[in-house]
Amino acid sequence: MSVPLLVVRRIASMLVVLLLIVVVSFFVTRVLPGDPATTLAGIGTSPEQIEVVRRNLGLDKPLLEQFAQYLQSVAALDFGSSLRSKQPISVEIGARLPATMELALFATVASSVGAVLLAILAVGTRRRGVDTAVRIGAVIGSSAPVFWLALLLQLVFYGWLQVLPSGGRLPFSQSAPPTVTGFYTIDALLVGDLATFGTAVVHLILPVASLAIASLGALTRLMRAQLRDEMRTDYVATARTRGGSRFRLLARHALPNAASPAITVIGMEFAFLVAGAIFVERIYQWPGLGSYTWEAIVGLDYPVVSAVAVTLGIVFVLTSLLVDVAYRLIDPRIRLS
């Protein structure tokens, strides 16, 4: 199948998936316990006043009628307004998504590079101890809960050592670079503001490390296994007869072939990081989609929770599409169906 056809088919199935997400997220958020009208109206409010608030929110209408309205507006890519802030949700997600994407991207790059280096170290060295250490480290890394890791790193580097900030994308007093991509690092570079770029990266270190370490483990184990398999193949054996170090052999010959399966995992890892940054964003006051989701759940902001679910669905489906395309472009042996 050609790449354009693949993209078209993928987009078609993506729409089906998204529709399912819209339906499920709408109804699931409505059957959850809680009453937004009571919560928003506040203490000291009589049942009559709560009813006025409910009516103003449109929550007094039958559920199916609410759903029909919702479907109609989502089809027009309008997720409605947040119950709490009254702002269009698409605007709020637009403001939050780049922060999460920047975090997830840095974390993905960090964990991929880290995994490759560790795997090469493990397979390349002839010392059994190094390999074992990498393997044990990988297991520990992948089993450490992200929120625990995030709190630990914050405690050590902000609390004790006082070398890194406690959170946020920039210090409180510093304003963001002019928005182009919404990635502070890139936007700062675009206007040549190296100081802001540096500060933004410093603020990224702890949250990125928390996310990266957690996904590093699984990726390292995969890369290590792949590399070991590749090292046993005939073409590597042939290459070996031509001389050169073991590390050179790994990097030049084994790694490119071992990388293909890793791309799938890295792609999905990225999508999971976007969705899974909720704890890290909470702990580091990172103003992304994760903290937005948290605030919406706690504040019982149904439309926001539904919209975030749909947005994450889009990120997942698009990522897997990109992975498939990249896969095919990189490895011509693969035929996609």
Binding site: G34, V52, V113, G159, P171
Partner: protein, 530 residues
């Protein structure tokens, strides 16, 4: 692929290295203080979501914005229960105490340039009634608002209300022009005002970074004027967990932390030992209450409720929840609050009498259930003390941590509610009838009367107190109402914590405000210390 990976890795490594160097030079983690000498910035840990003066009055933290941006006819005096002239310079009250005629301050404009006049007041009262909710509830006694002339407004009440002016301080006004111009789907400009501002107050809503910070800038045209050392910019920022926020306070990265979610008593030694911050203490006006489900067996039996009230270990609760930083309540009103019956003694444990009452009740109780709101450590501590206390009566208590929404859902009827539910109680107004009524008057069943307490005599007394013509009549009715709450025991009044507020030491002029539900601060009154 390998080349790509290697190159990418090298670029990232170089970027991180560069960033560390640059970041170290440019703005290290500690250097978050204001950058210029002239601009006084107050950094407030806590990020409000929305600040429509009517629709968002109850949001924790929203009031800190609303009070800085908007004003009403009368203002609360910081640190007291009193009110003072605000946008009204003076007023007269008719003999039957039903008509209040206010003379409006001249020359005041909203921040969008609209003049403040009687029509603006009338419009805002229409808006309050249309939007409903807390402010409308507090002012439900206002039956008519009339613009007598452009600088005179007359409010008519349904019944005389002794604390009407205190309630009135909650009606703050937005520019009618701004609200009308930005109206969408008949929302009275609520969506717009949730994120913008158009008030007469000293501050204007400025820059906002979604999920990260919100700034209030000083309104240079403010009618009250400005002097040196006042705060130019208030910056609200997203809050981390308690440990981190305390460190941010101690390092001067934030100037203040908004209260209820942060058990600062755990860090008092550290905070009081620091030159960076000033710790303010005041008598508390919050009562931590454990509501009893009075409409379901066995807690529908008054003797059982009385037994529980007497079995509760108040002293231990105060220690466990607040390290003793507070007092044992004397009933439904905090000591020192208007209308408090000063003849009441703090509640005390009497286990023998409790056992006796339980035996008299004839109820055989094995197990009861309790919910508390998971993020609140003090509710957990007080709930566990109840568990211990009930164990002494041979009753097992199942303690469950829940979300706020689960609690609200469960409280929709006595059948789904647990036997006990925690509901801390902060003052919304200085009106004691409102303080007691909103939790125990039967008209608030379905609202926040989580005990489902339905006592006709109590209701009458609260109505009488709310609409009393003078303080004596009010206090007599309130004394009886307080006695009923002790006798009927619809709640365990577990503790009154002291108010503990921490502010960066470079600011003076702060007063702990007793009527403070939403983490209120009067930024305009603060000054930078010499």
């Amino acid at each position: 692929m390998s080349i790509f990976t290697k190159r990418r890795g090298a670029v990232v490594a170089a970027a991180v290295a560069t960033a560390l160097v640059l970041g170290g030079c440019a703005a290290g983690p500690g250097s978050t203080s204001p950058s210029t000498d002239e601009d006084v910035v107050f950094t407030f840990s806590g990020l409000p979501t929305a600040w429509d003066p009517v629709a968002n009055s109850n949001g924790l933290g929203s009031l800190a914005v609303i009070r800085s941006v908007y004003e009403g006819l009368v203002d609360q005096v910081p640190g007291t229960y009193d009110v003072e002239p605000g946008l009204a310079t003076d007023w007269t009250v008719s003999d039957d105490k039903l008509e209040y005629t206010f003379t409006l301050r001249q020359g005041v404009e909203f921040s969008d340039g609209t003049p403040f006049d009687a029509d603006a007041v009338v419009y805002n009262f229409e808006r309050i009634n249309a939007l409903g909710g807390q402010v409308a509830g507090i002012l439900s006694n206002v039956s008519e608002t009339v613009a007598v002339d452009s600088s005179t407004v007359r409010l008519t009440l349904s019944q005389p209300q002794i604390q009407f002016l205190e309630a009135l301080s909650f009606a703050v006004f937005a520019s009618p022009t701004a609200a009308k111009e930005n109206e969408a789907d008949g929302d009275w400009g609520s969506a717009w005002l949730a994120q913008n501002s158009a008030g007469t107050g000293p501050y204007i809503v400025g820059d906002k970074v979604e999920g990260q910070s919100l700034e209030l800038d000083r309104n240079d045209e403010y009618w009250g004027g400005w002097e040196d050392g006042q705060i130019d910019t208030v910056r609200f920022v997203a809050t981390p967990d308690a440990t981190t926020v305390v460190q941010q306070l101690l390092r001067g990265e934030v100037d203040h932390v908004s209260g209820i979610m942060y058990p600062l008593v755990d860090y008092l030694d550290q905070l009081e030992g620091s030159d960076e911050v000033t710790v303010y203490r005041a008598e508390g006006t919050q009562i931590d209450q454990i509501q009893l489900n009075t409409q379901r067996a066995p807690l529908d039996n008054k003797l059982v409720r009385q037994a529980i009230q007497l079995a509760y270990d108040y002293e231990s609760a105060l220690q466990a929840a607040y390290k003793g930083e507070g007092v044992v309540p004397s009933g439904g009103l905090p000591a020192g609050y208007p209308g408090f019956d000063s003849s009441l003694q703090p509640l005390a444990r009497d286990l023998d009498r409790a056992k006796q009452l339980l035996a008299e009740s004839g109820e055989k109780i094995d197990k009861l259930t309790l919910y508390y709101y998971e993020p609140l450590a003090f509710e957990k501590a007080e709930s566990l003390i109840l568990q211990d206390s009930l164990a002494e009566l041979g009753i097992e208590l199942e303690v469950t941590a829940t979300t706020w929404d689960q609690m609200v859902e469960a409280q929709s009827s006595p059948a789904t509610a647990p036997d006990f539910n925690n509901l801390w109680h902060g003052p919304i107004t200085a009106d004691p009838a409102e303080y007691l009524g909103s939790y125990f008057h039967s008209k608030f069943i379905g609202g926040y009367n989580w005990s489902f307490f339905d006592n006709a005599e109590f209701d009458e007394l609260i109505d009488e107190a709310q609409y009393a013509a003078d303080e004596e009549t009010r206090d007599a009715a309130l004394a009886d109402a307080q006695a009923i709450l002790i006798d009927e025991a619809p709640a365990v009044f577990a503790a009154v914590p002291n108010r503990v507020e921490v502010i960066n030491a470079r600011f003076t002029g702060y007063a702990v405000h007793p009527v403070d539900y939403g983490g209120d601060i009067f930024f305009y009154d603060l000054r930078v210390a010499e």
